[in-house]
Amino acid sequence: MLLYILKRVLSAISVVIVTLVASFALFFLAPTDPAGVICGPRCTPERLADIEDSLNLDEPAVSQIASYMKGIVVGREYNTGGTVRECSAPCLGYSYTLGQPVTKLLAAALPVTVSIVVGGAVVYLLVGILTGTIAAQVRGTSLDKLVVGSTLIVQSIPYFVFALLVALYATFLPDSGYHPFLDNPLTWASGLLAAWLCVGLTNAAAYTRYSRASMIEALGQDFVRTAASKGISRRRVVYRHGLRAGLTPVVTIFGIDLAFQLTGAIFTESIFNLPGLGQLTLRAFGQYDLPVLMGGVLVGSVVLVVMNLVVDIAYTFLDPRVRLG
């Protein structure tokens, strides 16, 4: 098991490195001009050269990526206008446009995104699994058809339209905005409530459908019939024996979903004005802010490979037949 995890971590690191190199290459292949953006419309060639020099953009791309990698592992120094700035490991560089260390920007943005995604996940897991399980038990009745019908409707609405409708019409909800959890958990929660409901309800539709299908299959299994023949209550048969088997596939989907939501909460963040990772990278994208973009890519790829590993390990706890090795 430990050896397996070690192997997986090593392969995860190589995936992250490949992703970083590919993003770097894509950035330089594209017609990007970060120095021009910083310099503005009335820019003299000397000033442009100055900026390029201070951002090391005059160096070849290969040497730039080498110093970037070196910065992550051991830290690096920046030489701007005669002053030397120490950037200790893990150094992800300084934002071209904001002048701040990328690590600091990410550290500020990550809790916002994590708060949105995790809070939303609580909502959609609770609502989705409960509704799906109930629908599976009354399969074929009008209640079941109503549930399936409403999930179809919710899923047919594009997410940003749904989020906009919530933002525009659900005015009874507290104003959204991000307040750190540690300052005041109550304002933290009220500021995120609208985003949670939005993420939660749209995804709940999908999770209702997953759990319904999964539970219908589980409740038809022979071992559920065996459980019923023991003389335990129907509730225990469904929620202990059925749900235990029915939830396992849902957990797999959830792990991957969570990773994608962490890297793609842009709509939610923009519409509810929450300064998360999505907003940060989107802004960096428009301004050719390479270090911030690379930071976003790094966080995203790490989250994806880590979630994959977590799902695989979680599986060994959920299904005793699965052994890693």
Partner: protein
């Protein structure tokens, strides 16, 4: 089974292990009907089934897939979803009526007075719970005991059904057991509450032949010790000869023949039972072509009028008029022997068997 190597199954001279069936019935099924309304129409899975089993006796229910043997036993266990299945008639277990019992009462009944062993232990045990967990759950559902006591009981039961090293095995998962061991664990689970009625639904079908014999011996031994009534569902006539006291042959949702095992296997009276015997391959002498019963079992959506077996019956021309196609025969004694009943219009079926069927058997 030892005398089977020298004698064909139909002449098994079997000494009944148990006294004759004039004891009081523990399980009594009377005119049981099970129907499932579906989009295609009403599926009449069981149509007027009646039988009884006293304590310490074994009834084998024999028939093809879809003959209603499993459906009727699920009804005896109260396992049908009553929103889906329509059940009428009477099922009395130890004097208690099961049909129309409330859900709460059924919970106390299932797994307590009556327990069931299922066909495929691979799929019938929960893959995510340990064997011990699954046995103790059954025990604690009917006995108000601590987890520790229940686990001791589970270990005791595992030892009882011949699982070596039960103290270690109790914490293992079903996938760590072999097929035969899994079925033993399943039996331990069914017997943990000393049920007076045990229903075994093809418990050896998924097992290989050597393990089959062990499991059959185990069930017989346990039945003797626990003194329970056993209903044994199977389509294997060799298993029937081994384990049963009485046989009920089912066809298209009804019983077509019922009586003591040595009589029915020695001299069956229904053409369907004849067909079953003829379709057993001979293991001695010159290889002979098999004689399967022509045609296939009827759809339970549209059961044939009259005798449900008439479309496949080679003797229907012997019955005067169109009795076979218009009138369903009663399940009544057809010979001087009143202990056995069959559902066929044919006159003197014992003579027909002796003169026409017996010579054809290997």
């Amino acid at each position: 089974m030892s005398d089977q190597s020298t004698q064909a199954p139909h002449t098994v001279a079997r000494v009944p292990r148990n006294p004759a069936a004039n004891e009081e019935a523990y399980l009594e099924v009377t005119d049981l009907q099970v129907q499932f309304p579906t989009a295609d129409g009403l599926v009449r899975a069981v149509q007027g089934l009646s039988y009884s089993v006293p304590l310490r006796r074994t009834l084998a229910i024999v028939g093809e897939s879809g003959s209603g043997k499993s459906v009727s036993s699920m009804a005896v266990m109260g396992l049908h979803d009553r929103k889906v299945a329509r059940i009428s008639g009477s099922i009395k277990v130890g004097g208690r009526e099961i049909v129309n019992m409330s859900d709460k009462e059924l919970e106390g009944y299932r797994g307590g007075d009556a327990a069931m062993i299922f066909q495929d232990p691979q799929s019938s045990l929960h893959p995510y719970f340990t064997i011990g967990d699954q046995i103790t759950e059954s025990y604690r559902a009917h006995n108000n005991v601590s987890k520790r006591k229940a686990k001791d009981r589970a270990i005791e039961m595992l030892g009882r059904v011949g699982i070596p090293n039960p103290r270690r095995r109790v914490d293992q998962y079903p996938h760590e057991f072999s097929g035969g061991m899994r079925q033993r664990a399943m039996i331990a689970m069914a017997l943990v509450n000393d049920p007076k009625l045990l229903i075994a639904d093809e418990p050896t079908t998924a097992l290989d032949v050597t393990v089959q014999a062990q499991i059959l011996d185990l069930i017989s031994d346990l039945q003797r010790d626990f003194g329970s009534a056993v209903v044994f569902i199977t389509h294997d006539l060799g298993v029937v000869a081994e384990i049963a006291d009485d046989i009920l042959v089912m066809y298209a949702g009804t019983a077509v023949e019922h009586g003591p095992v040595n009589k029915i296997l020695g001299e069956p009276l229904h053409p369907y039972a004849w067909g079953l015997l003829e379709s057993i391959p001979a293991l001695t002498g010159e290889p002979q072509p098999l004689h399967p019963i022509p045609g296939s079992p009827p759809s339970l959506l549209a059961v044939p009028t009259g005798c449900p077996f008439h479309p496949r019956c080679e003797f229907k021309d012997r019955v005067p008029g169109d009795l076979c196609t218009t009138l369903k025969p009663d399940l009544i004694p057809r010979t001087a022997d009143l202990g056995r009943t069959s559902r066929c219009h044919l006159k003197e079926p014992d003579q027909v068997f002796q003169t026409e069927i017996l010579p054809r058997l290997p």
